[in-house]
């Protein structure tokens, strides 16, 4: 399945340099593919919307909505957390599809000395020979998971500051003012753990698939098992990411009166 000849050499990301800035073509392609898959899936599920006779896809999507609603209900108060339902849905669908996309196959090109893509030179890292990996999970890239993580963390801070200003500012100095540095570290650690957890799980899964592929034919049962496990891990990580997003947003922006 994987068009790989040797795993001895690291697969390079197909990077082009535009105006002195590096762009990772594989990442861009995968982000676009994942987004398109997610959008098409969502569009298909709402194509024939019906109140009393929903189709299979609509049922499935409604189940996802209920699922995310339950996540929000667990993390915060659903009535006030309702505005984040779309965010949670987008997150879980995008991350899940992203996690799954990297599993079934890979697409690798070999280059010797020089490679171009649409007339743009690919960055070869100074090597004579390189393998470019064009297909991977968008969530198997630390910068991209950190993008997702920081997005939701920034949202949680903004919403906390807007809707819950007094308690939001106060929580940096709790339980005592000299806890401020610790709270600050926690604030910084939140997006880091959120993004790197997702990245680590999915990247490790892909690395493991590469390693198993290196075993040749002997590795096929192990590959099957590992891919199955990766589906499980991908689903769990999508759930965890969404859950933690809602927990963080809830902590920051929704203050419970009886608290």
């Amino acid at each position: 399945m994987k068009g790989v000849k040797s795993t001895n050499m690291d697969h390079l990301a197909p990077i082009v340099i535009l105006g002195g800035v590096k762009f990772d073509l594989a990442a861009i392609i995968m982000v676009i593919v994942t987004s398109i898959v997610a959008f098409v899936l969502a569009r298909l599920s709402v194509r024939n919307l019906s109140v009393d006779n929903p189709g299979k896809l609509q049922n499935f999507m409604e189940w996802v909505v209920e699922f995310v609603s339950n996540i929000i209900g667990m993390a915060t108060d659903f009535k006030r957390g309702r505005v984040y339902l779309s965010l949670g849905l987008t997150l879980i669908i995008y991350i899940f599809i992203g996690n799954m996309l990297g599993l079934p196959f890979n697409f690798i090109t070999e280059a010797h000395g020089h490679a171009t893509f649409l007339g743009m030179d690919l960055f070869m890292n100074g090597e004579e020979e390189a393998h470019f990996a064009w297909w991977k999970s968008p969530t198997a890239d630390a910068a991209m998971t950190m993008g997702l993580a920081l997005t939701v963390i920034v949202i949680s801070h903004i919403q906390g500051f807007r809707h819950n200003r007094k308690h939001y500012l106060k929580h940096y100095f709790e339980p005592w003012p000299f806890f401020f540095p610790i709270n600050l570290i926690e604030t910084v650690a939140k997006p880091l753990t959120l993004g790197l957890r997702l990245f680590g799980n999915i990247y490790a899964g892909e690395v493991m698939i590469g390693v198993i592929l290196g075993m040749g034919w002997v590795g096929i049962p192990a590959l099957l098992v590992w891919q199955g496990f990766s589906i499980f891990v991908g689903a769990i990580q999508a759930f965890v990411f969404t859950m933690l997003t809602m927990v963080y947003i809830g902590q920051a922006s929704i203050h419970e009166e009886d608290h």
Partner: protein
């Protein structure tokens, strides 16, 4: 593993666009439909609840009217019974009166017939006795004494009548 920092912005922008598109073209309509269904279910539950209470009310009414009908029927039967027994008493009384009247009449008739019979018997016996007497006397009494007897007899007859 190299980190390309532009991926960060690519991801953020792409996610933002995906979020907007999904919210507008997928989740918006989906939420609308789900809300509509919730309304529909709520409405149906309300209707069912209303129907249930209504049917309960009807059932209660039916029970009451049935009870009332039963009571009325019982009253009617009771009334009919009492009327019937009264009528029977009346009829019996009337029959008794009639029979006693008939009996009295019969008794009276019998008495009258008896009297009549007695009277006619008397007159017959009188005539017969006269005839017998005259037959006997014809042989023993001569004309003079016979004349005397006839006179005597006529006198008696005249006295008796």
């Amino acid at each position: 593993m190299t980190i390309t920092w532009t991926n960060f912005f690519v991801q953020v922008i792409a996610f933002g666009i995906l979020y907007l598109l999904l919210s507008k073209y997928a989740f918006g309509p989906l939420f609308g439909i789900m809300e509509k269904r919730r309304q529909l279910v709520k409405e149906q539950i309300d209707t069912a609840e209303r129907n249930r209470s209504e049917s309960e009310r009807f059932l209660e009414e039916q029970k009451q009217s049935l009870q009332q009908a039963r009571k009325e029927a019982y009253d009617i039967i009771e009334q009919a019974k009492s009327t019937g027994s009264k009528q029977a008493d009346d009829i019996i009384a009337a029959a008794r009166g009639e029979s006693s009247r008939l009996k009295e009449e019969a008794v009276r008739d019998i008495e009258a017939e008896k009297n009549k019979a007695i009277a006619s018997l008397k007159s017959e016996v009188g005539g017969l006795s006269v005839q017998i007497a005259s037959k006997i006397l014809e042989k023993q009494v001569d004309a003079g004494a016979q004349g005397e007897l006839v006179d005597q007899y006529l006198k008696d007859v005249g006295k008796k009548s």
